[in-house]
């Protein structure tokens, strides 16, 4: 299979501290890759580099053949971060319409409605982000990620602070996206929430890639 996401000897330093050290791996289209590792292992940094939110200090990464950080790569990437990346003073719909404009979507209103429907969040459209619960905010953030129909979705601790019912909803959504051919990379400390969805896993330790495996379910 032609790799869709490639990472070749990617390093990232903050000052003298190496947070990622020569990480290399590839992922095919339609894979859901779990990203394991203890706190400080470099999971968030790796996802931020792949999303184009951090520049790698060394090495190269590509998404669908486009170098990470370029407009072509950004158009293909969705990034669910710790923050929702939505402004709290605006409604969910206002935020999503703004992002639809940034991604130059031809029918912004239709894209907003479709994204909210995809995460079962139609009822959130008129509510201000600052007034939403953590679970609702996560749904709105996921709708933002899906707005431009990316081919790669990067999720950083998507299940953190969510109740069981919302975790189940989110898992169903991620499974649907994976089955639809999207490539996903999910970091989580809740391994049981990701393991049976994943088609492969990367394990990081102190910024180094320890292993890339395809036997994920056995781990849990």
């Amino acid at each position: 299979m032609q790799p869709f996401l490639t990472c070749q000897r990617v390093s990232r330093f903050f000052g003298d501290a190496a947070v990622l050290r020569e990480v290399s791996f590839t992922c095919g289209a339609g894979e859901l890759v779990a990203l394991w590792g203890a706190n400080g292992a470099g999971k968030t940094t790796l996802l931020r580099v792949l999303a184009g939110a951090l520049r790698p200090t060394g090495g190269t990464a590509t998404v669908g053949g486009a170098a990470v950080g370029t407009a072509a790569a950004r158009r293909q990437t969705g990034f669910l971060s710790h923050g929702s990346l939505l402004h709290p003073a605006l409604t969910v719909e206002e935020n999503l319409r703004f992002y639809a404009t940034l991604f130059a979507l031809e029918q912004p209103q239709a894209a907003v409605e479709a994204a909210l429907e995809q995460v079962r969040g139609e009822h959130l459209a008129g509510r201000r982000v600052g007034e939403l619960s953590q679970g609702m905010r996560q749904k709105a953030a996921l709708a933002r990620c899906l707005l431009h129909q990316p081919r790669l979705l990067l999720l950083d601790e998507p299940f953190a602070s969510l109740d069981r019912a919302t975790v189940a909803e989110l898992r169903a959504c991620l499974a649907g996206l994976r089955d639809g051919g999207m490539t996903l990379m999910v970091s989580s400390h809740q391994e049981e929430a990701v393991a049976d969805l994943a088609t492969g896993a990367l394990t990081l330790e102190r910024g180094r890639l320890l292993a890339q495996t395809e036997e994920v379910a056995e781990r849990v």
Partner: protein, 224 residues
Amino acid sequence: MSDWGIFAAMLRRDLRIELRTREALLAMGFYALLVMVIFSFAFSADAALTARAGGGLLWVAFLFAALVALDRAFLRETAEGALVGLQTSPAPRAALLGGKFASSFVLILGLEAILLPLFAVLFNAPAHADWGGIALTTVLGTWALAANGTYFSAMSVHVRQRGLLLPLLLLPVSIPAILAMVQATQVYLGGEGVANYWLQLLAGYDIIFTALGLMLAEMALEVE
């Protein structure tokens, strides 16, 4: 969607946020009003004195207001990590920065429109003052501060001492513009000199620094 569409979306969004939260407007208004009232206590409301020194007094108040607004321009993007959302979008950086500049410009100018009549009353401005000229100087001067200030606000948003860094970067670069706006206002208030010379300097400054800011927008919004 054209770059103008993204520019307009950024402008609309920022103004909407400000109208809802009023964070920058209240702080700007408070500082500017404080400066004007204190100066009016210190200097007697004397038309002759206003004609001689009013330009400086007015622009100190406007400058304080502008610094508050410009500091907030990118600070509001740190809520919920919204700045990362801008940085990871494929939108042209010049359109994003241009929209931010336009919203800061509109906000500062709006406040100045309220402060200008107040200044005339508090400082007993001369009856023969050229208010059209003062308004034009205010527009050009505010443009200069907003263009440079938005750029430096973007660059300093991740710095811990941001509040100190912004004036340190902005004011030295703006000295020619500040000189021109104070001198032109002074002339229009009834002082001596030729206002056109200062206005031309200000307009040239605006064109050069706006173009430079847009050309270097990629640097200002670059990821870490």
